[in-house]
Amino acid sequence: MQNLYHTIRNTLRLGVLMLLLAAFASPLAAQNVRPPANAVNLDDGTEEGPSNALGNVSDSEIWDAFRGGDPADLLAAAPEGQVMTTTGQVWRLIREQYIRKYLGWAPLIVIGLLAVFYLIRGPMRITGGRSGKTIPRFTLSARVAHWFMAGVFIILGLTGLVILLGRPLIAPYLGLEANSVLASASMQAHNLFGPVFIFALIWLFIKFVRGNFFQWVDLKWIFKLGGFFGGHVSSRQFNFGEKSWFWMVILVGIVISVTGVIMLFPGLVEDVRWLQLSTILHALGAVGLIAVAFGHIYVGTIGMEGSLDSMLKGEVDENWAKEHHDLWYEEVTGKSATEEPTKEETP
């Protein structure tokens, strides 16, 4: 709206200026403008073209004829045979005024919140320390599937952010040429790795779906806020937070994949509104995933002692398992998780 207001205001100002210039220009022009000395008169007597080639139609009427669609109905179908659609203008405004302007803040806000949380709470240590005894948690193929997805996700995330935010964030500082180079490179890599992401998503789903269905025990986890602010919470192989992240990756991943394929092969859809919707959903889903991924990375690394072992070595410390996944520990070992934490044997 603000943009429209500025446009109207500037147009009015320009119009007034033009009128003033026109009013003063005629007598001035008559006095000061002379043909140059070497000017040649091209009037050879031949007949000129029609003087009213555009007819008696004003510019605004011409553009109105090109453009179709109802500005009040964003979901209206694009009129047949129209060169421009109103939905296209609305899509452009959403992309420029909202997505490009505000979406990039989401990952930064999450990073900021995590930093504050870390400073206040610090890392979650294993109560009683490490036992020195480990139990297997993830198979090699599950770990490879996880890191494969992580690698592809990082490449797509970085290139996607350059494509989406390069113009407002890179161009003003590094210049248009640098932005153009980065955008070209990112676009090619993004298009190439996009189909790889679909493969990674399917692989991840097959490897991790077991154990990620929601159960009643997850309610306790929710009520106790995952134990992040103290207190013990029971969980099976995956807790509510991990399950939510898994399903978010899968479901949002499907949306990103479908919209990505539509953008990669625009001929698949006939209605341009699918393409417009795809770009918006793709950006929202991807940046949302990137933002939440920081939380996942935090808990998996510096936020919780011993959790990275599960994905690096495939094994976790017994005390870690008892503390964070007690029901899974009992299921795997057949022992009670409420026993005193095992102490690491000193040589």
Binding site: L140, S141, V181, S184, Q188, A189
Partner: protein, 214 residues
């Protein structure tokens, strides 16, 4: 002379020469070492074992097939993918035609190029991730393995960046990395691209001579 002209011209010629002579030097060196004379009577042909050993290793052993599935899928995906990309990608054929060979052959279509690229990238990432995830692989891997993997990945990635052919700097970056890769190849384990024939053959010949059915 522009940077692109340097990396595609004299630097590429130098790197290619080092690659060819270095690889030949090492392969001939290995062959010249020869094998310790086996004085026991031969029960079967060592030459047949050499050939059989080479082909037999293309297939996984039944009992290990499941455990090494990531390795097999990743290995085949990456190596075959890379081979197809190098020799059937339009830009590569054009480069080889104009700079080295003077003749060309049909290239694969763009959609196939993108698909094969995806397979090759997937394979390489899977192999490297396995290298750092598997405790045994992690233990036996050293700097050379990681440099080789990452250098190959960067060559491929920079090639992917330059696909649009819109900016010389992207093409130059790709070619610079290709040059570095060619220079590094003969002095590293990337040489397995040639020496695998000898190592598989050596095992095959040893067992073949003893009459062991591979």
């Amino acid at each position: 002379m522009s940077f692109l002209e340097i990396v595609e011209g004299p630097l590429f010629t130098f790197a290619a020469a080092v690659f060819v002579f270095g690889a030949l030097w090492r392969v001939i060196g290995i062959i010249r070492i020869g094998r310790k004379k086996d004085i026991s009577p031969a029960k079967a042909s060592a030459a047949a074992g050499f050939i059989k050993g080479n082909f037999r290793h293309f297939l996984p052993r039944g009992i290990f097939a499941k455990r090494t599935m990531v390795h097999i899928v990743g290995g085949y995906g990456f190596h075959l993918g890379l081979f197809v990309l190098i020799f059937f990608g339009t830009y590569h054929i054009d480069f080889l035609n104009q700079r080295i060979l003077g003749f060309s052959w049909p290239a694969m279509p763009r959609w196939a190029f993108l698909m094969v690229s995806g397979i090759a990238f997937s394979g390489l990432i899977m192999l490297w991730v396995r290298r750092i995830s598997d405790p045994v692989m992690r233990l036996i891997s050293d700097k050379d393995d990681h440099i080789g993997s990452w250098l190959t990945f960067l060559v491929m990635l920079s090639g992917c960046f330059a696909l649009e052919q819109a900016h010389d700097v992207l093409r130059a970056t790709h070619m610079l990395l290709v040059d570095i890769w060619l220079l590094y190849f003969p002095f590293s384990r990337l040489m397995h691209g040639f020496t695998f024939v000898l190592s598989r053959g050596n095992s095959g010949a040893t067992y073949g001579r003893k009459g062991i059915n591979l």
